[in-house]
């Protein structure tokens, strides 16, 4: 039988990263095909190619056996492919019907919006879902589940035959999830084909007819429902060859520098406790959205904690804001390099100097020469490739930009360094250099904390690590104590189910 949709030999490269290489994927009519893989495995990229947002470098798309020639956003919608992104794309202060019919509002003969017809059409579109929603209601007043359904209704009203759902249950509660599953079953019965992306293996087992696993931009395997256990799936998700991309060093953990006790913030984390020692790298692993970044931001004073205690060198400290944290010797290298780590329109020099201007000034007046010396030395020692320190950072490559962020914090000698996804979007060569720099910090006697979504990175670089699941530390382990499959189980929350 001819599949409804076929993607064959899809390859996509971004500067410095190969996101997809030669991936093939197909979808039958009325089928739910689950797409599973680690963070960064290439699921979202593949779906963005299907939605027309990205253009594949190589490979073809076929719909009902016919090759899709033009793959723009609008064309794909017209072909009946509807994508519901993880972050919903509704306009909060417009009504439900305006959202569903945005850009194709029915008109009266005077050219104004035909509200009564639009509301009627909205009721029709929402009818299958049996919801208590009025077309006039503003979207912001609805919960996440209802918003999700409106997205589905919108896609269906565009005659979508293929629906792509990217982590649809991420923001839903138990009952809402049940409701969504009901709707998915109805849709399938009505002949809609669904591509379902999820981290939650249980869901995948419940819903999927077939499962495809991606890893590092390649398709590992496609299997029918019920022919693969959780353990097998995890093995396929993480199983990779260990290469010499992780420089080794002998750590000598010293005294505890940073200790966190019972850190709690409603909706973000609960009862988080850990201790980071001088001279070691402490990893934080977990799925995207598990709350690792938020936990660190709370410690750093960027968010306010509800309860809990932070101790530095054994003394309780109160960190009210980021300035407090820096003054007390904590540095945070944020996840979003461009939005939070750098000032893109300023020079390498200005960026690197930003965190130390207070140390090298008298009554607010800068000691230009000393700052210049410090920055130049640091930039040389970090091997940042830039024609001059006056170059704007916007013109540097991702790896070099990241090194500028690191330089900014290395110049200021901190006792605790918190790295949030330090190697994201960076090529392998630069990664190795960044690992070395982190190890040097540890050798210098700092406590280094590293959040990473790349399992092998955590397994190989950190001396100890904590697994975070839904805002809690569910496991702490030493290097070599667990294997990747076990860590993945904890990240997915499977250990709790197993115990129960």
């Amino acid at each position: 039988m001819e599949p409804l949709l076929k993607m064959s030999g899809i390859t996509k490269t971004f500067p410095g990263v190969r996101a997809l290489s030669n991936v093939s994927f197909d979808l039958n009519k009325g089928e739910l095909h689950a797409l599973v893989g680690e963070n960064g495995a290439g699921k979202s990229t593949l779906m963005k190619i299907l939605s027309g947002l990205y253009k594949a470098d190589e490979g073809d798309l076929f719909l009902k056996g016919e090759k899709i020639v033009s793959t723009g956003l609008r064309e794909m919608i017209n072909l009946g492919i509807g994508v519901i992104y993880q972050e919903l794309n509704l306009i909060p202060y417009l009504s439900v019907s305006e959202n569903i019919f945005l850009g194709r509002e029915p008109k009266t003969s005077f050219g104004t919006i035909d509200w009564s017809r639009m509301h009627e059409m909205t009721r029709e579109a929402l009818a299958p879902f049996k919801l208590d929603i009025e077309p006039q209601q503003k979207v912001y007043s609805l919960g996440a589940a209802h918003q999700q359904i409106i997205e589905i209704a919108k896609a269906l009203s565009l005659n979508a035959e293929i629906l792509v759902m990217d982590e649809p249950t991420a923001a839903l509660t138990g009952n809402e999830v049940e409701r969504l599953f009901e709707i998915i079953k109805q849709l399938k019965k009505a002949g809609v084909s669904i591509i379902y992306i999820s981290h939650r293996l249980e869901e995948v087992h419940t819903l999927a007819d077939r499962i495809t696993i991606l890893r590092d931009g390649e398709r590992v395997i496609t299997k029918d429902r019920g022919t693969m256990s959780n353990d097998e799936m995890i093995k396929y998700m993480v199983g990779r060859v260990l290469e010499e991309q992780y420089p080794q060093y002998d750590s000598e953990p010293g005294a505890i520098v940073l200790e966190v006790r019972g850190l709690t913030k409603k909706g973000i984390c609960s009862d988080v406790s850990f201790a980071a020692r001088a001279g070691e790298i402490f990893g934080f692993v977990g799925l995207v959205g598990a709350g690792r970044t938020e936990i660190m931001q709370t410690i750093y004073g960027y968010r306010k904690m509800d309860s809990g205690e932070v101790l530095l060198h054994g003394n309780p400290v109160k960190i009210r804001n980021c300035q407090d944290a820096v003054m007390k010797g904590i540095g945070l290298i944020p996840e979003e390099r461009k939005q939070q780590g750098l000032i893109l329109g300023m020079s390498v020099f200005d960026n690197a100097a930003l965190s130390v201007l207070d140390l090298y000034s008298t009554a607010g007046v800068l000691h230009r020469r000393r700052i210049t010396d410090e920055v130049n030395t640091m930039i040389d020692s970090m091997n940042i490739k830039t024609p001059s320190v006056k170059q704007l950072v916007i013109n540097l490559s991702g790896g070099n930009q990241q090194k500028v962020v690191l330089a900014k914090w290395f110049i200021r000698h901190c006792d605790v360094y918190i790295f949030d996804e330090p190697t994201r979007g960076i090529d392998v060569g630069a990664k190795v250099e960044i690992y070395r720099l982190m190890q040097n910090l540890a050798k210098r006697g700092a406590a280094v904390i590293m959040i990473s979504s790349e399992l092998p990175e955590v397994m190989n670089i950190s001396d100890r690590a904590a697994v975070v699941f839904e805002g809690r530390i569910v496991k702490e382990f030493r290097k070599g104590e667990l294997n990747e499959e076990q860590v993945m189980e904890y990240s997915l929350g499977l250990h709790e189910r197993r115990r129960a």
Binding site: Y300, G345, L354, S355, L357, S361, V365
Partner: protein, 332 residues
């Protein structure tokens, strides 16, 4: 053969001309406003024999200095990505306060001047705190402050002008030192001071950094609220300095003083190449921007162009300057 030769020559000329156009474009992009400024000065020197005289030039700079001083402060605010619409009202209030204190020689001019500057600083601080701690958009905060400060001025003056000051105070607006008008000297000092602060102090570098990316500044452990508030204090103080000069020059403080000044001030900063979204710009640019407006005002008066038409030209100038800026940004 002849045709071919001609062809070659023609292409050659074309190429040379093209090259010249490109160079010219590059030049215009990098020093656009400065070139426009010189061209206008050159044109006016030919059109009006009086334009290029020492007297007239000093006159232009003296008139420019009133709003130019405020533009110096405004440069700080706009560099952070903010805006202050209340400068004209701050000018009126601090001028009235100084005048009220000095009336009938009740208080020494120096003390009165310090009081006026304090008033400007306080209003600026209120603006700054509402923007930072209150998290209200600068446009809204300072729009409200426009009428609040003006209203307080009316209450304080009861609507009557305050006049009659000591000769020494009159020197501030009308006096000369070594043949240079005192307001011009004050203006130059303020520009120099601002240049130093922007380039050699933490406050200055953070001003640029805040406009470039506030989030990064905050996460770098810098006291964002403090530095962001400070720029409003600076523009407040500059408005007060300007108020003192204006009051001295007119020998009178009125509740309506400085009305509409914010437009000329913001225009000077924007024409000078400072980006309204923040992070990019310079004090030298503002100086040229302010002088350009002064020259155009003066030139059009000399040429007898109607004040109505002058408005149109000034508006066109602002938009033209922003287009120029956009071209420069896109070519980078």
């Amino acid at each position: 053969m002849k045709d071919a030769e001609l062809d070659v020559t023609y292409k050659g000329v074309l190429r040379i001309t093209m090259k010249k156009i490109i160079d010219y474009k590059q030049l215009l992009k990098n020093n656009g406003i400065l070139i426009v400024f010189f061209l206008i000065c050159l044109a006016l020197s030919f059109l009006s024999p009086y334009f290029f005289t020492v007297n007239n030039i000093l006159n232009i700079i003296r008139q420019t200095s009133i709003y130019g001083i405020i533009a110096v402060g405004m440069t700080f605010v706009i560099l952070t990505g903010g805006i202050d619409l209340s400068v004209g009202s701050i000018l009126a209030l601090s001028g009235a306060v100084a005048a009220g204190l000095m009336k009938n020689n009740a208080v020494a001019p120096l003390i009165a001047a310090l009081a006026a500057i304090l008033v400007g600083a306080i209003i600026g601080l209120i603006n700054g705190l509402l923007v930072t701690i209150g998290k209200i958009a600068p446009f809204v905060v300072t729009l409200g402050m426009v009428t609040i400060a003006r209203g307080v001025t009316l209450i304080y003056t009861k609507g009557y002008p305050i006049s009659g000051f000591s000769p020494e105070f009159r020197e501030l607006g009308g006096g000369y030192v070594l043949g240079i008008p005192v307001p011009v000297i004050v203006f130059v000092i303020m520009v120099a001071l601002a240049w130093f602060v922007l380039n050699h102090t933490r406050l200055g570098r953070y001003t640029y950094a805040i406009g470039g990316n506030e989030e990064t500044v905050k996460l770098s452990g810098i006291n964002l609220n403090f530095y962001k508030s400070m720029v409003y204090v600076i523009v407040g103080v500059m408005s007060s300095v300007s108020a003192l000069i204006l009051t001295s020059r007119l020998n009178s403080a009125e509740a309506v003083a400085g009305q509409g000044y914010e437009l000329d001030v913001i225009a000077a900063v924007v024409i000078g190449g400072t980006s309204l979204s923040g992070g990019r710009g310079s004090i030298i640019g503002t100086l040229i921007g302010a002088l350009l407006i002064g020259v155009i005002n003066n030139g059009m008066n000399l040429l007898g162009i109607s004040p109505y038409f002058q408005q149109v030209v000034k508006g066109g100038l602002i938009i033209g300057a922003v287009i120029l800026d956009r071209l420069r940004a896109e070519s980078n």
